[in-house]
């Protein structure tokens, strides 16, 4: 079955079955999957729901670029990530990432690299809504090009534990 090119940013619930069906390969003995789901707590606070938003024009292109880059780096035929946007309840899936390869070592490595890259390099934002009625955007990784960052900072200098209350 041919791989199908489907949106990487999706406002409807993510389906692992659909993702698997769209990426079937008889030559791949290993399939690694990551699903990031909405937790009921973050930094010790009770979370009721999340809202994800993205800048889809960049995100759709960047996810495809990242998939191609990682597929080439790890020599795996299939790398695919899809991210949900909109309001999500506890337990709903925010991100699905899969890799299919001939063997498991490179397939694990590709899947992990894919998840890290999508989390750190793609314009997607998360606003958490807490049990006490407040909400906050979770602060993360800057997308500012290295050349434009102050010397002390770097792209990898993420602060996912810090929230901007709004």
């Amino acid at each position: 079955m041919q791989q199908q090119d489907t949106p990487r940013i999706q406002s409807t619930p993510l389906s692992l079955d659909v993702l698997l069906a769209h990426t079937e390969r008889a030559d791949c003995g290993a399939l690694a999957i990551f699903a990031g789901t909405v937790r009921d707590h973050h930094e010790g606070r009770a979370v009721r729901s999340l809202t994800y938003s993205s800048y889809a024009r960049v995100a759709e292109k960047l996810i495809r670029d990242i998939e191609a880059e990682i597929a080439a780096r790890f020599a795996v035929p299939v790398c695919r990530a899809v991210h949900r946007v909109g309001a999500l309840g506890i337990g709903e899936t925010a991100i699905l990432a899969i890799a299919r390869g001939a063997h498991r070592a490179e397939t694990f490595a590709a899947m992990q690299a894919l998840v890290e890259a999508v989390k750190h390099r793609v314009p997607i934002w998360k606003e958490e809504f807490y049990a006490d009625g407040s909400s906050a955007f979770v602060n993360g990784c800057t997308l500012v090009a290295a050349e434009d960052l102050p010397p002390a900072e770097s792209r990898l200098h993420c602060t996912p534990t810090q929230s901007i209350e709004s």
Binding site: G36, Y52, S53, S54, Y55, R57, V58, E60, K61, H83, A94, I95, V115, V118, K119, H120, R121, V122, P123, I124, W125, K126, E127, F137, V138, N139, G140, C141, T142, L143, V144, A145, E147, D148, P150, C158, T159, P160, I164, S166
Partner: protein, 96 residues
């Protein structure tokens, strides 16, 4: 595109007009999801950011960590802007 002044529009009496989509927390801090900004000819992303930074200290602090997108690409601060550019302010990301 808006046809007259509004709280979302910063008027600078020059030639390049761009629209700026404020993503994530930037929309809260800017107080708007879309801004239209008119800049001097040959203005760069950095010039745009300096204009936007005047909105508030919070905005200035956020802009230091924001990337700027044009179309489907992230562009460096030195990029020269063209009339009609559709830009986006991309604050630090937290997917997944």
């Amino acid at each position: 595109m808006s046809s007259g002044p509004s709280p979302c529009i910063t008027w600078v009496d020059e030639r390049v007009q761009v629209t700026v989509e404020c993503c994530g927390v930037a929309s809260r801090i800017a107080g708007a999801e879309h801004l239209a900004v008119v800049l001097p000819e040959a203005a760069t992303v950095l010039d745009l950011f300096e204009v936007l930074a005047e909105r508030s200290t919070e905005m200035a602090e956020l802009l230091a960590r924001c990337a700027c997108a044009r179309g489907d690409a992230i562009v460096p601060r030195g990029t020269q802007l063209a009339d009609g550019d559709e830009l986006a302010l991309l604050p630090p990301v937290a997917g997944g």
